[in-house]
Symmetry: C2
DNA sequence: TTGTAGGCGTTATCAA
DNA sequence: TTGATAACGCCTACAA
């Protein structure tokens, strides 16, 4: 059995109060006593029981994140980087990170959120892959539980979090492609309910408009944010009577699949066809050819989100309730880019 | 304020005992009463306070996993798949998954483990990226806290978990390469303290031996399991006076970097040089050319681990304390493979 | 500077 | 079938 504060107190012939205060760094404890307490506690391998502390203080020192996983074997490097960022920043503040997975907008997802929120398992939550009208944001606001999100929903809730300006990112990407001489530019998007899909798509459309290119519905298609999805969508595009000369993709994984399909069709990516993605995952620098992409600093964003969430939780003033980040266009060879690929 | 069990009891003019038992499904509660209780509780949005329950029951219904992250912006798809598996299986059993990150064998890692273990924050832990002599396994065994691991350490502790037979996997891979006519086969490994590095390296060596090829120290090099590391290590190999005709890599990310380097050196992967990896990450099917790899079912392994851990925690009999899994050799074009790439 | 005691919300024992 | 009550381990007013 692990020692309790009572055991430590007994051993030192002190009251549990003194032990508790000594360990928590209160200043009304004799320095000599404190030293002794800390040393003994460590010796005995004592650490305060988290459940008891939580119950007493009515807070968990834990934040939660539910991964929106659509499939079983899903594996997007975006998430490992995101989680690493959340975990690092949380533990820097002595907070823990609770994680689970649930398919977006499923009953299971709802049950998970309720379990944590109503059971008081977490002090706050991080949300991403926001949908245009996202029940989670409504629910969390309604429950009055602190939360931050990456991307906002359309509904005018009080939004606290980080936004990536992917609209302007895509605009920039499109301008670059047009400048490279492309006019038949296709788009492989994701689930139309997703906020990012909307932003990316809108940026794509705006890019066409800015270049006075008439949008062509046949060049707009959808996939599921995976390489497989990208592969199939690209296959479809390449089979068109009048195929595109460039494809922009909603994310890097999709682009990787699209590159693969292009190779299968005998096209040399970067010469016969231009392909670009979004995310800036580590792999994108090492694909063949290296992938032009809009890089977003996922790790930094995750840390930023936690910082904001913790300020929220502890009621500290928040410098900015909404942070907007510009993605960075990394031009590489997949669009015939002339800049160094590294 | 969230309602407590007391609020529910008061509303129904019942004792908290009855409410508690009704909700927990005890059979000594009148059916009519139970219905009423469940309904009312749901209506009021009541859910048992987790901290209180944990304190009382002396268990947390939570398992922990500390990601061995070596660098800040690390992002290995292995981990998102692994975490998804852990999370899915855990939540299928109504358990939660606590996650954080810490650099392997760092003081910080130690602090994290202690915080959870001694603070009673988790009922058990999942460990991976095991080192040959891993302090974590010693510590957890010593503390008597349930844990399972992917890969075992050399020290003869009572091991419960999953092992991937990567030794034989590499043996098979080597035989295949030799059969393809290769004799100058290089190896890009990882940290020599890692168990997987040892297994993979041993399999490589054994493969050479089986083919009666004298090992050449210059063809063995190390990296850090990232594409960047693989890139540099491969560069080094390709600059040798007598470069290899094939490179086997400790994992897929390394192989992706090695492919990139080969391209940069004007080599066509799959024709001028063969490259193979290990892991079977989703991307590997979509690299250019698609990557030959030893596929391990990460998601399934993760679920399996949780199943074992929970049996351990609840003291249920464990069918097998040690599960051995064979990786599957996926032959693709990066080794000039003749099998279909999909 | 230190000690006493109450209660956080549950579950579990025992009695009714 | 239901109810009163005692912990679980900790923190914190308040008293000494």
């Amino acid at each position: 059995m692990r020692p309790t504060i009572r055991d430590v107190a007994k051993k030192l012939n002190l009251s549990i109060t003194t032990v508790s205060r000594a360990l928590d760094g209160y200043d009304d404890v004799a320095e000599r006593t404190r030293k002794l307490v800390i040393e003994t506690a460590h010796e005995m391998g004592y650490a305060p029981n988290r459940a008891a502390r939580q119950l007493r203080r009515q807070q968990t020192d834990t934040i939660g994140y539910i991964i929106p996983s659509n499939s079983a074997g899903f594996a997007d490097p975006f998430f490992s980087e995101f989680i690493a960022g959340l975990g690092d920043e949380a533990s820097a503040h002595n907070y823990d990170l609770l994680v689970t997975t649930a398919p977006p907008a499923s009953p299971d997802e709802k049950a998970q959120y309720e379990r944590w929120v109503q059971g008081g398992k977490v002090d706050g939550l991080v949300v991403n892959r926001v949908q245009l009208d996202d029940w989670r944001l409504h629910y969390l606001a309604e429950q009055g539980i602190p939360h931050v999100s990456l991307e906002r929903s359309l509904t005018p809730l009080d939004f606290v979090g980080v936004e990536v300006d992917s609209y302007n990112g895509f605009l920039e990407l499109m301008a670059y492609l047009v400048n490279q001489g492309h006019s038949r530019i296709a788009y492989i998007g994701g689930d139309p309910k997703l906020k990012i899909e909307n932003d990316h798509h809108a940026g794509y459309q705006a890019g066409l408009k800015a270049a006075h290119v008439a949008p062509e519905p046949a060049l707009v298609t959808r996939a599921d944010l995976t390489p497989e999805g990208g592969y199939q969508a690209a296959e479809h595009l390449l089979q068109l009577a009048n195929p595109p000369t460039a494809i922009v993709c909603v994310n890097d994984l999709t682009a990787i699949g699209a590159m693969h399909a292009s190779h299968q069709y005998g096209l040399k990516v970067g010469r016969d066809i231009a392909i670009a993605g979004f995310d800036g995952i580590a792999d994108s620098a090492h694909t063949q050819p290296p992938l032009t992409t809009l890089d977003q600093p996922v790790y930094t964003i995750a840390r930023q989100l936690v910082t904001m969430l913790l300020a929220f939780i502890t009621d500290e003033p928040l410098a900015e309730r909404q942070v907007k980040i510009q993605p960075k266009l990394l031009i590489r060879e997949s669009t015939g880019g002339t800049m160094p690929s590294k």
